[in-house]
């Protein structure tokens, strides 16, 4: 916010730099949109790579198994948790966008729906992360079971 003093003009400057009448800019609506784009682009580029690595089943079982082995390493395993988190956010927020567009009361409840998808995301990611990382953690720090 610009707070430079121009005598009586100070107030006008402040109004101009923070547009009144928009509830969108800087609000949760903007940030869910930004995150939707970032997760969408990330998943798209992974999809291109993933079709290529799966295509190796047409080369030989050895070539496919060799590349798939890299998916089982600790660092890539962690990246997979990020991928699943990105896809899950994109799916849940997409559902929220659809409800805002098509459900008569959608626009009124869009803020509550943001908190709802955040809660669902956390509830699903907790067990999801546990099962995705179980093997890696056991291999690195020894099995406890």
């Amino acid at each position: 916010m610009q707070t430079a003093t121009f005598g009586s003009l100070t107030k006008e400057v402040r109004v101009a730099s923070v547009p009144a009448g928009t509830i969108y800019r800087g609000g949760q609506g903007m940030w869910t949109w930004v995150l939707h784009r970032i997760t969408g682009v990330s998943v798209f580029f992974f999809l291109l790579v993933h079709v290529l690595d799966t295509a190796l089943v047409r080369v030989s079982p050895e070539a496919y198994d060799l590349v798939i082995a890299s998916y089982k390493t600790p660092i890539v395993n962690l990246l997979e948790v990020g991928l699943v988190g990105a896809v899950l956010y994109h799916a849940l927020n997409g559902l929220r966008v659809i409800l805002v567009d098509f459900w008569a009361k959608g626009p009124r409840y869009q803020r509550q729906m943001t908190w709802a998808i955040a809660a669902v995301w956390v509830v699903l990611m907790l067990p999801g992360t546990y099962f995705m990382l179980k093997h890696t953690v056991e291999a690195m720090f020894g099995s406890t079971s």
Binding site: L48, V51, L52, T54, Y64, Y71, V87, A91, M132, H135
Partner: protein
Amino acid sequence: MSTTSRSGPVSIPAPRSGARNGQRSNFELYSWLFMRISGIVLIFLVLGHLLIMNVLDGGVQRINFAFVAGRWSSPFWQVWDLLMLWLAMIHGTNGMRTIINDYAERDQTRFWLKMLLYLAAGFTILLGTLVIFTFDPNIG
């Protein structure tokens, strides 16, 4: 809409006068609708895929050539993967098209970025489809 220069003189056409001499199409409407319909279908296909491949029964650690061969011996998973490939690629390509239209300001940049996008998407869809239809479990 997408070809409007941002640096030209500002003019607002009259409502419903038709952009570009009446050559209006409903393409963007259908694109908007497609994103929502394919999105709902993809929620089931992709989240199901991620659950099976990454979470259940040991997750990614159990995936190898034999695992893929076992799945693609069933037409159900072949259709699942084929539908997921096509819908996800078109959904993703359309999203990337929107983003290119939003951020690439020069007409030339926009054009070539989209050509590159369509080339990559076409290649990936074709390759994936061929792999599903020509998969040979006895290739080794």
